[in-house]
């Protein structure tokens, strides 16, 4: 099971955190500090895995962003590496060649996408297409809702005049 997902920039800034196991706010800060110290200092040719407090953290660097997932000891590290890549690919499809800026300003969207990909610490959907479709469906609903509200406010505004 995945215990948490972290996105950290090369400078150690947090871009996204998702906790599937309970951690208090204090623990979270500590975890992030410890892990960024551990991962950001690692050389480029080393393993993408780190042992940490009896768990394993799988990370992968994409440009200046580190995607980290913490898993149990008996999970398949290569699979997690692929899940990370999977997530990045979905993000990429969604944002159209994603860059760190997209995630900085639209972190909530990154969360929505992650929620369609992982649930309760497990991969829920192995098909990229399905994930993309679902997120798009939600977005389009949001768009129409927005249009509706704006048109209603327009009507009200006109009526008020």
């Amino acid at each position: 099971m995945i215990h948490f997902v972290l996105l950290i920039s090369r400078q150690g800034k947090v871009r996204l955190t998702k906790w599937y196991s309970p951690y208090s706010q204090k623990e979270r800060t500590k975890v992030i500090r410890e892990l960024s110290g551990l991962i950001l200092t690692r050389g480029p040719k080393l393993c993408n895995f780190v042992e940490w407090r009896g768990l394993r953290v799988v990370y992968k660097r994409y440009a200046s962003l580190y995607f980290c997932m913490c898993i149990d000891e008996d999970d398949n590290e290569l699979e997690i590496l692929e899940i990370i890549h999977h997530y990045v690919e979905v993000l990429d499809r969604y944002f159209g060649s994603v860059c760190e800026l997209d995630l900085i300003y639209n972190f909530h969207k990154a969360y929505f996408i992650l929620d369609e990909l992982l649930i309760a610490g497990e991969l829920q959907e192995p098909s990229k297409r399905t994930v993309t479709r679902l997120v798009a469906a939600q977005d389009s609903l949001v768009e129409t809702a927005k249009e509706q509200t704006s048109s209603i406010t327009n009507i009200i505004a006109q009526a008020a005049k």
Binding site: R10, K18, S24, Q25, I32, G43, P44, L46, C47, V50, E51, K60, R61, Y62, A63, S64, N76, E77, L78, E79, L81, E82, I83, H85, E89, D92, R93, Y94, F95, G96, S97, C99, E100, L101, I104, Y105, N106, F107, H108, F112, D115, I119, A120, E122, L123, Q124, E125, P126, S127, K128, T130, T132, L134, A136, Q138, D139, S140, V142, E143, A145
Partner: protein, 955 residues
């Protein structure tokens, strides 16, 4: 996809993000965030905030919390937001609460109602949002509230909903297995769902269920095997493919399940051989996911009933992993080797050089994994080398968690395989000296126990030799300046127990040393306590041996100090020591028998030794003891209490705010009169205390015994049973015994804990016996393995070079399709640059193909290009990274502006397809304009040649 339409946050929010990005220090960042918190606190509580504004506030809260600050003041607003009708707002509300609240948060109860309503919604997106929240927020207490709805959703027409419902049930099962255990059949049913996504999701709960109880699911073996077969034969839709592997995630999950089901079951395993063999053959070992599946196959093969053919393929894959240049694969190879050697130890031999290379690798992760492997293959012939290496490594690292782990492993191996007592004691000393207080106290206890019990052989001579060598080494070590507390405890205990046992050292030597310890570590009460007890033992043994006891002056001063100590424990020990010294030899021998720490202490639970005393007391006219259950007065009270507790526990949310303990006593009278159990006490609110006191006299008549006793009954919970008071005075002697043998008590507790560890180790031990037999010739014993790198290191190097050489052409061939393969690129580029990445692209559509070409040219140009490439490697890497996958950036000008001229000056030919692509892939150039506009809005000119500005922003 409307993604860029997402920039609809207000300028304020964008400014916040930007200023955080530009913050030069953590302090500055904190200041900005605190400012923001103040603003939000003020704004969020204003009345009549438009929904859209509110939504933005909530997102800002999420942001603040993500940065590690406390946003709890806004949680309630997020909760409120989930109640909203519009999905747009609701979704944000749900997102925020799932991020904010842990499952035990008080606010969750406010969301349950909303979730219930949303689960019934006819809009499946609302249901999905609610199910996401269910997975995170519903706790054991609230499961029953949503369970029926979630169950109904298993038959929902939308597969996305069914999938999430399954996962929610999975979560429920994890949290409280009993709450959903009656629904297990539903998981089986969902396995046959039309949608492969739902089927895949069902594998998660099934895996968990099977892990807990294998036998009830043996009937599913055939089904799993046939599903796996179909998956491997590409019967699923192409959408599930991943780098040309058919539904690899489902394959992995199935292999995991098969591994469980086939473990130790020949019949079940035989069903699996064919399909696992097929997967071994079909797997593409050039892609990451292919290797993931291969690794899972090895795990499966090493778990199910062994099959020589499969073991052979597994061994092949392992050697391929180990010979690979990728550290990841080496790591997996080492891990897989550790699994396989349990069944076929002989395969370790051919990889010994690779293993030793990994052990000396600068990569810590790999090193640790290798230690794990060594730990698994330790036997008596190589234990010295392995433990030695482990300790050396332990000394070199600073990670406390791992230090602890490796220390306990060293201890375990040393206990299990120690070739000599001398070595064992020395090893333990090293572990304790360096791992210090990190060592689990249990390890210290087990060491004491081991020294006390000896190695189990009935050879008293050997045991006493072990002890004397321990004593000797400890006396020497005590000269060291600073020793960890745990180690000192062991030393004190051993010196006390065996310091004078062999007559080599006199009592005054030992006591002198013990006093030094107590003095030098005067802040550590535990050590002092151990030292005092040790002193007592030494003196007791002296007295018992009819030798004259002279207390050293420093010991006397120590005792004086301890007699007045603030710690009652130390005081008591000191008093006991004094008392023991005053006793005659016979009494001392009874209290402190020599070398009896392993004897069982018989506890007389009935306190039968008090019978005479009681008899005497009763004859003198004392009341006999009435057991609690037979006391009429007590009965009511405890009944009432129980009732109270029941009430409290049945309503999870009542936190005993209005408990009425006093009227409870009062209510007994009416209760006795009406003889009803359901009494609701209606106390006069004004005088509860008074009424309590007035009822007091009535109790004695009720119970018909002495007043004193009854009053004590009233407070019985607090002060314990009065009847026992005489007993405690006598039981002092027993308590004394346990006190002077605190270590004995400890010993006892460790005995059980040790048993546990022994038990857990048992299966391994069995395997290792087998291993020992089979592998006697294998790793060629310890000294050989150790010397190997020294003498045969060149050979190792050479062979690894060979491997490299033989590998290089292969890999370059593989990567030939994209010319980018180059060592100077970051590794992820290489990963991504694997042909599969591009070839999936090929498969997907012709534009992708174009992209692939484009990418490589870009990469090539970047690599060959200006040295400037290294100036902004980030952005280049980003560019390159995304390149291999589904690359195309519609704000390419933005990036190129940042990166370097070499990209900007791309040949026109490459620029052309890019344009066509962007228009084909994203028929919405508006988005890019928007993005551009935003960037401008933030005060940055994207096409400016000043990359520094953006570097800040990118953080």
């Amino acid at each position: 996809m409307g993604s860029q339409g997402g920039f609809y946050q207000s300028k304020e929010f964008l400014d916040l993000v930007k200023s955080i990005g530009e913050a030069r220090s953590k302090a500055e960042e904190d200041r900005i965030v605190l400012n923001e918190i103040e603003t939000l606190k003020r704004r969020i509580s204003e009345p009549d905030i438009p929904k859209r504004k509110m939504k933005e506030y909530i997102i800002r809260l999420v942001y603040i919390e993500m940065l590690g600050h406390d946003a709890s003041f806004g949680y309630i607003h997020a909760v409120k937001m989930t109640h909203d009708d519009s999905l747009l707002v609701k979704r944000t509300g749900y997102l925020a609460v799932t991020l904010f609240l842990n499952e035990d948060h008080d606010l969750i109860i406010l969301i349950v109602n909303t979730i219930q309503k949303d689960l019934k919604s006819d809009n499946y997106l609302v249901v999905c949002a609610a199910l996401n929240a269910v997975c995170k927020l519903i706790n054991e207490e609230t499961i029953p509230a949503v369970l029926p709805q979630v169950m109904e959703l298993l038959a929902h027409p939308k597969e996305a909903v069914r999938k999430k419902a399954i996962m929610a049930l999975h979560r429920f099962y994890q949290k409280s297995p009993s709450s959903v255990s009656h629904l297990v059949s539903n998981f089986r049913k969902r396995l046959c769902d039309n949608d492969p996504g739902v089927m895949g999701a069902t594998l998660c709960p099934l895996f968990e269920l099977i892990a807990r109880d294998v036998n009830s699911y043996k009937d599913l073996v055939i089904n799993f095997v046939s599903i796996l077969k179909q998956v491997a034969e590409r019967r699923l839709s192409k959408a599930y493919d991943c780098h040309q592997m058919p539904a690899p995630f489902i394959q992995i999950k199935l292999l995991k399940i098969l591994a469980l089901l086939g473990s130790g079951d020949k019949q079940a395993s035989e069903n699996m051989y064919t399909v696992v063999g097929d997967i071994f053959r079909k797997c593409d070992s050039s892609s990451n996911i292919g290797n993931a599946v291969l690794y899972e196959c090895i795990c499966c093969v090493s778990s199910i009933y062994p099959n020589p053919k499969l073991l052979e393929s597994a061994a092949d894959v392992i050697s391929r992993f180990l010979k690979s240049d990728s550290h990841n694969l080496k790591y997996m190879g080492i891990d897989a080797l550790g699994r396989l050697i349990k069944i076929s130890p002989e395969i370790a031999e051919q990889h010994q050089l690779a293993v030793i290379d990994c052990l000396e690798d600068p990569d810590d992760t790999l090193k640790r994994k290798t230690f794990e492997l060594l730990y698994k293959m330790t036997k008596s012939t190589n234990v010295e080398v392995i433990v030695d290496r482990m300790i050396d490594y332990m000394i070199s690292i600073s990670d406390n968690h791992y230090k602890t782990e490796i220390a306990s492993r060293c201890v375990e191996l040393a206990e299990q395989f120690a070739p000599s007592n001398q070595w064992f004691i020395q090893t333990m000393n090293r572990v304790f000296e360096h791992a210090g207080d990190l060592v689990n106290i249990k390890v210290a206890h087990s060491l004491m126990r081991l020294i006390a019990e000896g190695f189990g052989e009935d050879d008293d001579n050997a045991d006493s030799k072990l002890r004397s060598s321990a004593v000797e080494s400890y006396l020497r070590i005590l000269g060291e300046p600073k020793l960890p507390s745990v180690f000192l405890q062991v030393i004190c205990w051993v010196l006390g127990e065996y310091g004078t046992a062999d007559g080599m050292f006199s009592a005054s030597d030992i006591t002198g040393k013990l006093c030094d310890v107590a003095e030098a570590y005067s802040n550590d009460e535990t050590v002092k306590a151990y030292a005092t007890t040790a002193l007592m033992k030494i003196y007791a043994f002296e007295i018992a041996a009819h030798r004259k006891v002279d207390m050293l002056p420093e010991c006397q001063s120590l005792m004086e100090e301890l007699l007045a100590s603030h710690s009652t424990d130390l005081q008591q020990r000191a008093y006991e020591l004094q008392a023991v010294i005053g006793l005659d030899a016979h009494a001392v021998e009874c209290i402190m028998p020599s070398d009896a720490s392993c004897e069982d202490i018989e506890v007389d639970r009935d306190l039968s030794f008090l019978n005479d005393y009681i008899q005497e007391a009763i004859e003198k006219g004392a009341q006999p003891y009435i057991p609690e259950s037979e006391r009429s007065g007590m009965l009511n009270i405890s009944n009432f209490r129980n009732q109270d507790h029941h009430e409290a526990s049945s309503h999870g949310l009542r936190f005993e705010a209005y408990e009425l303990p006093k009227p409870a006593v009062q209510s007994r009278i009416p209760q006795a009169l009406i003889a009803s159990t359901e009494i609701v006490p209606v106390p006069e609110p004004m005088y509860p205390r008074e009424s309590y006191q007035t009822t007091m006299p009535s109790i004695p008549s009720d119970a018909g015994s002495a007043e004193l006793k009854l009053r004590l009954e009233g407070v019985q919970k607090k002060w314990g049973r009065p009847t026992y008071t005489p007993a405690t005075s006598t039981s002092n002697s027993t308590s004394q015994k346990t006190v002077n043998g605190t270590s004995q008590g400890d010993g006892a507790s460790t005995v059980s804990s040790m048993r546990e560890t022994y038990d857990s180790r048992k299966p391994q031990v069995e395997v290792s016996h087998e291993k020992q037999k089979l592998a006697a010739s294998l790793f060629g014993g310890s000294s050989k393995t150790e010397k190997r790198p020294a003498t045969g290191h060149k050979a190792a190097k050479a062979s690894s070079h060979m491997v490299e050489k033989s590998h290089v052409p292969k890999s370059s061939m593989e990567v030939a399709s994209d010319k980018a393969a180059s060592a100077q690129q970051p590794p992820d580029l290489l990963d991504l640059g694997e042909p599969t990445a591009t070839s999936t692209a090929l498969q997907l559509d012709p534009f992708k193909q174009l992209e692939g070409l484009l990418d490589t040219t870009e990469v090539a140009s970047a690599v060959n290009g200006a040295p400037a490439a290294s100036i902004s490697p980030d952005i280049m890497a980003l560019y390159v990274d995304t390149a291999a996958g589904i690359h195309n950036k519609n704000d390419a000008d933005l990036l190129s502006g940042l990166s370097n001229p070499s990209v900007t000056n791309m040949p026109g030919t490459t620029a052309m397809p890019q344009v066509t692509q962007s228009s084909s892939k994203r028929p919405n150039p508006k988005d890019s304009l928007e993005k551009d506009a935003l960037v401008r809005q933030m005060g940055v000119n994207p096409s400016s040649q000043n990359p520094n500005l953006f570097k800040d922003l990118l953080g």
